[in-house]
């Protein structure tokens, strides 16, 4: 069976369409954060039949990129396209759903996607500079319809940016995954191991941006509450998270008092 048969081409187009629609939420429309990796990844995975890949990729990328902020004219790495494309590649390129080595490899591929997405974003926003001029009607002044039409036309530019990026990145990733699957088992084990370390990199990435201390007191309180409650008292993990949040809150109130 060839890699890009009609079914696969349709799936890639569908994935690119998902990327284009979700990509609108990133800047242009609403910003309800559907475009955040922790949502965009699982949503893409669910639509393509591999929720596990979406959850693992989305959750991992979320912590790593969450504090890359769009301040002023700075345009951060497009974690949305990265999450959608990586999930689509994992979902369409795996032989079975939730194949951890392929997921790890796709997470590694996002590293290569970052500069491509940033360049595309930069290019599109430069092009958008023409829109306000176009919104001035031929008589020289803006009208309600000219402002509405040209302003909303910007949505098409944002959609196309994410759609075309996905359309280019997903087939390229699928080719690389087919090559990856032929590599020795040790490489596959390495990628599975890679996945398990990434949440801790995410934790470090968030802690680095939220606190000026490496040994932050609240971070350590959360760690102790989590470790002790789960290991000594066998508290369910969800309850441990609530306890840690409560512990951090209490610590803050005591500090403020």
């Amino acid at each position: 069976m060839t890699l890009f048969d009609t079914h696969m081409i349709m799936q890639v187009l569908f994935a690119a369409l998902i990327g284009g629609i979700i990509g609108l939420d990133r800047t242009a429309l609403g910003q309800f954060m559907i475009s955040q990796p922790v949502v965009a990844g699982p949503l893409t995975g669910w639509l393509l039949g591999d929720v596990t890949a979406g959850l693992v990729i989305g959750g991992t990328l979320e912590l790593i990129w969450v504090l890359d902020m769009p301040i002023g004219t700075f345009v951060p790495a497009d974690a949305t396209v990265a999450a959608v494309a990586a999930t689509a590649i994992a979902a369409l390129g795996s032989t079975t759903p939730g194949q951890l080595p392929v997921i790890g490899f796709c997470l590694l591929l996002t590293v290569a996607m970052v500069p491509v997405t940033m360049f595309a974003d930069h290019l599109m926003r430069q092009r958008n500079a023409q829109i306000p001029e176009l919104a001035l009607s031929p008589s020289g002044g803006p009208t309600e319809s000219s402002v509405t039409v040209w302003h909303l036309a910007g949505l098409i530019a944002f959609f196309l940016k994410a759609f075309l990026l996905c359309l280019a990145l997903i087939p390229a990733g699928l080719l690389l995954v087919s090559g990856f699957l032929a590599l020795p088992d040790a490489v596959h084990r390495a990628m599975s191991l890679f996945v398990t370390f990434l949440p801790l990199l995410g934790v470090a990435s968030v802690a680095r941006k939220l606190s000026i201390y490496t040994l932050d007191r609240t971070l350590l309180i959360g760690f102790l509450i989590g470790a002790v409650s789960v290991q000594m008292f066998h508290v369910p993990e969800l309850a441990a998270i609530m306890l840690a949040a409560g512990g951090g809150w209490m610590g803050m109130r005591v500090h403020d008092a």
Partner: protein, 259 residues
């Protein structure tokens, strides 16, 4: 000037609120949110300036340079609506809407970036990822609920607060202490990501480290690894470079038979 212009109705402000979700639809480096601001204010201008020429003049005035945090733009939209109303009804002839926008956009931009991007989003993300690592499929929904209750609620109320207070930032801050709220969200985020590292041995199967060591030792190793990563990031290493390094290290471990 239309001296008998009708006053702004709640439905007009709701129209501004709806359109505020599109404020960045044509975001560009040159004009940033200028066209978006004009687009969002159309229901107000339509109401206040039935005269076509006056409408066009005021719409053009709102197409000047404008940029702020997109959610807090709602407050400025409300304030601009009030200033336009004052101008149109001659309540305040000298109402300088452009100056008001210029005065508000920079401080609200900084405040909003710090609050929404720098504290609310990491808080929702930390909670969602903590829940996801515990194996809960509803983690994305938790993220959306935690984030959007605050986001949409504030966006709606800010249009009305901006209108009622005429863009008084002090009144806004007395109602919503963003600085204190941001600090609280950051503390909660740090506690939850600390918990993520502490519960390493209980993570879902996809993330479970394939080594047979006791859970306390694994947690300690996880903490040491995390602190090492924080130190590396503080030294200027980017997450991308660390990811490549980690992949290389994992490959060496696998080739050496340790994984």
């Amino acid at each position: 000037m239309t001296h008998n212009a009708a006053a702004i109705r709640t439905i007009d402000l709701l129209g501004v609120f709806w359109r505020s979700f599109f404020i960045q639809a044509s975001w560009s480096y040159d004009r940033l949110q200028s066209l978006g601001f004009a687009f969002a204010l159309i229901p107000i201008l339509r109401r206040l300036y039935p005269d076509r020429e006056m409408f066009t003049r005021r719409l053009a005035a709102h197409m000047e340079y404008f940029n702020t945090q997109p959610y807090l733009a709602s407050f400025i939209l409300g304030a601009a609506a009030r200033a336009e109303e004052d101008r149109a009804t001659c309540r305040h002839d000298a109402a300088d809407v452009e100056e008001l926008k210029k005065t508000l956009m920079a401080p609200l931009g900084a405040l909003g970036d710090s609050f929404f991007w720098g504290s609310l989003k990491p808080f929702a993300a930390s909670a969602a990822v903590a829940v996801l690592l515990a194996g809960a499929w509803w983690a994305p929904l938790l993220f959306l609920v935690l984030y959007n209750i605050v986001h949409v609620g504030l966006r709606l109320s800010l249009v009305f607060i901006g209108y009622k207070t005429e863009g008084d930032v002090v009144a806004l801050m007395s109602r919503h202490n963003f600085t204190r709220l941001a600090r609280r969200y950051k503390v909660l985020s740090l506690a939850m990501i600390g918990c993520i590292a502490g519960t390493l041995s209980a993570w879902g199967t996809e993330f479970r480290i394939p080594v047979s060591v006791s859970p306390p030792l694994l947690a300690a190793a996880g903490l040491a690894f995390t602190l090492g990563m924080i130190a590396l990031l503080r030294l200027g290493a980017s997450p991308v470079k660390i990811m490549i390094g980690l992949a290389a290290a994992c490959l060496l471990l696998a080739l050496g038979g340790f994984a």
